[in-house]
Chain length 173, copies 4
């Protein structure tokens, strides 16, 4: 069952071109800096955004101690087969906001990884939703793990989804 690709179906085709930067610089900086310093330099444009942000049109718009806010404006190219923004896009927003919120709490040389994500999809997002805002917040942080929550709202403040997750914290050697 090899699917035809859109490029073979010329009728009604839309095209998009976007750019991203080598992510290696960013990954290195993430390990070498305290989390809060990392985000400050990212905010100052000292580092390019991670590739996924460009691929999905997602931006980190605010970050402070234990908290991070992302925005994404739904586009047709986020749509699933049933005509709404794919739940995976909302999951990406939530995972990003949660992860960055935890990252702000980490010292240089400490790495983290998301162990999981549980997201509730509470309202369909469409082009009419306007810019989505996703706020992540640390709930608990220990030596080995942290938990965090995120809430996604549409332009009118209605809750589109909400999530919780656990991150594993790995002390550097």
């Amino acid at each position: 069952m090899p699917q035809n690709t859109t490029s073979e179906q010329p009728e009604a085709v839309r095209r998009r071109t976007y750019a991203w930067a080598d992510p290696q610089l960013l990954a290195t900086a993430a390990q070498e800096l305290d989390g809060i310093d990392f985000f400050e330099r990212l905010g100052d444009g000292k580092f390019p955004p991670p590739p996924i942000n460009e691929t999905l049109g997602m931006a980190l718009v605010e970050v402070n101690d234990g908290r991070a806010v992302f925005e994404l404006t739904p586009e047709e190219w986020h749509y699933n087969p049933i005509g709404t923004v794919h739940g995976g896009i909302l999951a990406t927003l939530a995972d990003s906001a949660l992860g960055c919120a935890v990252h702000t709490k980490l010292k240089a040389g400490t790495a983290y990884t998301s162990l999981d994500l549980t997201i509730k999809f509470t309202r369909a997002a469409t082009l009419d939703s306007g810019t989505l805002t996703c706020e992540g917040r640390v709930v608990t942080i220990g030596r080995r793990t942290a938990t965090a929550e995120a809430e996604i709202t549409d332009k009118t403040g209605r809750v589109i989804g909400h999530a919780i997750a656990t991150c594993l914290i790995m002390a550097g050697s």
Copy 2:
């Protein structure tokens, strides 16, 4: 804190252009056909893939009663700030496979929506992972809800992640 965008940082910039088709045709067909017929025609190239598949380089490669398989080959443009495939990409794969598996069970005129997704990230995915395969399978199906599970493996069969979800089934009028 408006972030600079990659296009303002010419050094080391990569570019990608892709195309997708109007998703309206697909959304209409999804409601008018039995689920299994919908996927048969999608497989025959009668409909273009949904936009999200083109945006993320994800393809439905197999579908049958209560089961759906997606593939995605990691690219640099899937990367998060810490140098691995963003968890949201894995969540998108899982949500797609789970949802399609449930969709195969639905009669024409019946709609469904994912209520949630819980995904475990068990191993980092990178360019070295090779093509990821995500198999979704219905676990239970009732009149109002269905539950499903998905497992994502790398080219060597190692489990990258696994997920469960509930879908709400809405009988048409």
Copy 3:
């Protein structure tokens, strides 16, 4: 592998006797009354607590619109094989608080059921934790589903666990 039971091992055996009332009256009242009225009468002692509350030593201590609070004081008989309060006890507290919070929003003749529970265990609970407080709160409520969250704290206010869930709402005939 039939396990021996504790009653065959007389050394160091502890015993507990408790009582509960026929739950049928409560289940009937739950369907015939608006949620908020149901809890008001439960609080006034017009109905006995549900059996599970007696089995686990759990009590509903506060309830109002979209919010419910339970308490439980850890006892040795809540312990798991590794010497802490079993995670299932915390899950029971969370499921109770979430469900009651949603129930307060329902009109007479409307039933609900928990579709799931995701709980994070963030700190071990022991006899030293003192009375645990679990507050549940509705996050979103629609015609067919509601989502809610709960947080469990120990006597010093530290977060022992937190949870989210979806409830299905079923309009009466």
Copy 4:
């Protein structure tokens, strides 16, 4: 809002007395033995069951490498306010089966803790369900974390619920 207790409401009161053993012996053994040896001795009646098993009428009936099976027969004293087995009882079964399955994989001196539980409630359990069987199985295991899944079925094999979880593995000193 102090609730009356059942003992103040003599009509239709049921009583239950049960026993359990000091859990300290068990907790110590859990750390000093390889997981698989620990369960072998537990099965041979060398240790008493953990208190929670007696409180809830739950028994470990089978355990082998990466797998554990619990049984519980619903009783009226498991009931919630809406006349079915409380979801927390199902969560306790799932958390137990998942945790024991992971425990079988651990060497002496290694401890573990459940970080979370996500459970889907797919069918109400009542006295008519007969004995519930919950099988837990390890899905992935690494150096720091393991994931596992559990499925609960009634006496006719219908799926009452299913769950996934992450356990944190802590190497001893």
